[in-house]
Amino acid sequence: MCGIVGLFLKNEGLRPKLGDMLTDMLITMTDRGPDSAGIAIYGDEAGALKMTVQSDTPDATFHGLDVALSHALEGPVNMRVIDTHAVLTLPEGTEAQARAFMVEKGIRIMGAGHSMEIFKEVGLPKDVAARFHLRQMGGSHGIGHTRMATESAVTTMGAHPFSTGDDQCLVHNGSLSNHNAMRRVLTEKGFAPQTHNDTEVAACYISSRLAEGANLGEALEGTLDDLDGFFTFVVGTKNGFGVVRDPIACKPAVMAETEDYVAFGSEYRALANLPGIETARVWEPEPATVYFWER
């Protein structure tokens, strides 16, 4: 069991409230996943590349990190530290170099992109949300996850969302049974998962398909052919938001759409306090059917 929430705003006026709305949804899903929680939030584009990194010793690790990285990349670096995470703004074209720098320093990379920031930690969703001040965050869309671990350890790196491509993230409720075979295929393609987690394999799969030129809908369609197991996936990209469930569809899912937003919840409880939910179109996504929205 895990909990998934997602919100894709159509009404720009709601953007300052995205974090607040998502936080309530996330906390409602605590009893589906009390092990760890995470959120990917798509905010305003900084006009530059952003990288979210994590350290268990943030005070020591992040002290002077921006200066050191700025020297290494030979360009300006800005840093915003939030609890165990730091969001770094980097010069264009330096992502590979920055990633190598982080690996060398033993700093964990949560994700990168021009819009997306990722915050995830072990602990109850309400505590994780408070540590990162999720309520204060705004943006165009976001995806959150509460984890009840089955396939790998309860760690920061095992928490969802997983990001395996720029501005891409994926969360999962379920368990995959062919992830080891798929891990080898993806590694050969240059999309090697960094953890032992099955969900990261699905994230790498989506990233590989997008890199090959598929659109979000086609990449999600591909999971039905190539991934075996139980899954409800919710995927975010810079401009998009997608949902797919496996053909057996025993992992629950509810969606709601109004003129203002498209919302996803593992249960209706997560959607029950959204504005206008009484008159929203509320439905259960069909098995083996891809849903996606792009702006």
């Binding site: 569809a249 629950p252 209706y268 409880r269 997560a270 029950a272 439905w283 259960e284």
Partner: protein, 227 residues
């Protein structure tokens, strides 16, 4: 009418109050406000009371129901009326997966659609769905009637025992050992009665009946592939 607001009353208090109603109670009408998708609302009732839930419910609403009438004005989450023994449960909206699972008796009416595994392992319950039902519905259904005014998904009635399935629309595929059967006058009567009781305006002659081919009851080597 007794009114209980779940925004201010804990769920256990609500269920305790409903479960405490005796056969001759004079508190026969109950209204539950602000369900907001909570789980296990109005479960284990055993008195002839009428409970209206104003909104949508989460997992296992009206489970194990006896005698009571439970109405949900919104939609219901997974396992609504699971293991119902008697009474009536009416869902104005849609029902999620395994609605009416393992039910022994009573009537479950879903005015919208039901998703996968509707009536799985039903054991005497009657289920009337005004819309469509999802895949693997009536899997291993043992007795009772499942009536669908819309369409049925894949693998309807897989490994069916003696439940009767009536579908007005299309059936995407039949499960193992489930076959279309002749609609005899006694079936038309059963169906007419169920449609009346479920407030469904439909002509019994438009339905097809499906049931067990009874070939999986005993092992037969020729059917090994079907097990």
């Amino acid at each position: 009418m007794q009114s209980i607001d779940l925004a201010t009353t804990p769920l256990r208090e609500l269920n305790s109050a409903l479960q405490a109603q005796a056969a001759l109670t004079n508190q026969t009408e109950w209204e539950i406000l602000n369900p907001k998708g909570a789980h296990a609302i109005a479960v284990g009732l055993d008195a002839p009371i009428e409970v209206t839930v104003k909104g949508s419910t989460g997992y296992y609403c009206a489970g194990m129901n006896k005698q009571a009438t439970v109405k949900v004005t919104g939609s219901a989450g997974p396992g609504v009326a699971e293991n119902m023994m008697s009474g009536t449960v009416i869902i104005d909206g849609d029902a999620s997966q395994y609605a009416g699972a393992t039910g022994h008796g009573g009537l479950l009416v879903i005015k919208g659609n039901a998703s996968s595994r509707c009536g799985i392992s039903m054991k005497g319950i009657d289920i009337v769905v005004h819309g469509n039902i999802g895949h693997m519905s009536a899997f291993m259904a043992q007795s009772g009637n499942l009536v669908v005014l819309g369409d049925a998904g894949d693998a309807l009635g897989d490994s069916l025992y003696e439940a009767r399935l009536f579908v007005r629309g299309s059936v995407k595929s039949l499960g193992s050992d489930c076959i279309e059967k002749e609609m005899r006058p006694e079936h038309v009567e059963i169906l007419r009665d169920l449609l009346d009781r479920a407030g469904a305006d439909a002509d019994p002659s438009e339905f097809k009946r499906y049931g067990s081919a009874r070939k999986l009851y005993n092992f037969h080597v020729d059917h090994a592939g079907a097990y």
